[in-house]
């Protein structure tokens, strides 16, 4: 994917110079390994700052919410799906956007690598289908496919579903992916085991809300966890309140989450928060045959009623 850079810069320069857009939202190189910084470019001569590699896991759609100008945005498969959701939810207008589509082969999971490397990571280099990590005088090599983000490993929409420009030929979509193995494993647990599982999962949460704030879906002016009139949930480190935050947030993402993995990537404590949103994503697929952010015309399941909707929970 390193080869995309030139094309991305070329397109960005063109649309800026032609005045099609006022800014281009992309990434610039980060100051640490395995992380790049979302940025905007205003002047055609600055496009050389834009970069693309396997460390662009943050979903850029988050930066579109309620912006007023004309924007060029770089979008991999999942970002493009969230752009569709954003358009459907009136957070941005299609006419404002020039979408620079990036066929994606997966982003590297920084938590995964960090947790398997004892020293401080100083350099991470891609070398064919390998990834070479060095630091503190040691070197470790992984197969790329082993250190991708979990959501990328099971991704079935690597190509942008909506775009104006495409930086390269579409990549092959992954077939026969077992998307929900982990969720099924949890579903099989007893209620007590489930409760314990989630206690453990969320034990180290510091309630920084990075998972929420990085998510393009979480754009409410005042989130239910912040509101105090009425106070829906306590604000302290009480474990029940922490779980309430996580469960309710997941519900709010139902039928909207594209499993982009930004939330998991952002968490400073490395908590696998997708374990919650993915369950609802699975339910939407199984109950309503719905995948979020595929089609601009179709209404999401929670905003429509169909006499055939499953109603087993009612009696």
């Amino acid at each position: 994917m390193l080869s995309y850079n030139e094309k991305i810069r070329h397109i960005a320069k063109k649309i800026l110079a032609e005045g099609k857009v006022e800014i281009v939202i992309g990434y610039r190189r980060g100051t640490l390994p395995m992380i790049n910084e979302p940025c905007f470019i205003k002047h055609p001569e600055d496009v050389t700052r834009l970069i693309w590699d396997r460390h662009c896991g943050i979903n850029l759609t988050n930066y579109l919410t309620q912006r007023k100008e004309r924007i060029g945005i770089i979008a991999k498969g999942c970002d493009s799906r969230n752009i569709i959701t954003h358009i459907i939810e009136n957070k941005i207008k299609r006419e404002q956007l020039v979408i620079i589509g990036v066929p994606c082969k997966g982003m590297i999971d920084r938590h995964k690598i960090a947790s398997q490397f004892e020293e401080e990571i100083q350099k991470v280099k891609e070398d064919g289908d390998k990834i070479v990590v060095t630091g503190g005088g040691i070197e470790k090599i992984w197969k790329l496919s082993d250190v991708l983000q979990e959501n990328c490993i099971i991704c079935t929409h690597r190509n942008p579903v909506i775009y104006d420009e495409l930086v390269a030929e579409p990549v092959a979509e992954q077939k026969d992916v077992n998307r929900y193995e982990d969720i099924r494993r949890i579903e099989r647990l007893s209620p007590a085991e489930k409760a314990e599982f989630f206690d453990d999962l969320l034990a180290s949460c510091i309630r920084c809300y990075a998972c929420r704030n990085v998510c393009p879906l979480c754009y409410c002016d005042t989130c239910f966890v912040d509101g105090s009139q009425p106070q829906w949930v306590g604000k302290s480190q009480d474990p029940t309140d922490i779980r309430t935050f996580h469960f309710l947030r997941a519900f709010h993402c139902a039928g909207r989450c594209t499993d982009c993995g930004s939330c998991e990537r952002a968490c400073p404590m490395g908590i696998k928060v997708r374990t919650l949103t993915k369950k609802l994503e699975k339910d939407c697929l199984e109950l309503f045959n719905w995948e979020a952010g595929i089609d601009l015309e179709q209404r999401p399941p929670l905003t429509t009623y169909n006499p055939n909707d499953p109603d087993d929970t009612f009696r």
Binding site: A195, T240, R315
Partner: protein, 57 residues
């Protein structure tokens, strides 16, 4: 809800018309009996606020 560890039977949904008095009674009876059978929740219960929490991390 079941996914997060709340037992099946603790939450009920029903659609009862104002004309369906007997259904209402039946449902209420069933809800109370299943929930009673399950007993008090053990997890996802906020522990009473105490000063014990103040012990440093």
């Amino acid at each position: 809800m079941e996914y997060m560890g709340i037992e099946p039977g603790r939450i009920h949904f029903s659609w009862i018309s104002s004309a369906e008095a007997t259904k209402f009674v039946d449902v209420v009876n069933e809800v109370t009996s299943t929930v009673k059978a399950l007993g008090p929740r053990k997890s996802f219960v906020k522990t009473p606020l105490t000063t014990a929490k103040n012990k440093a991390a």
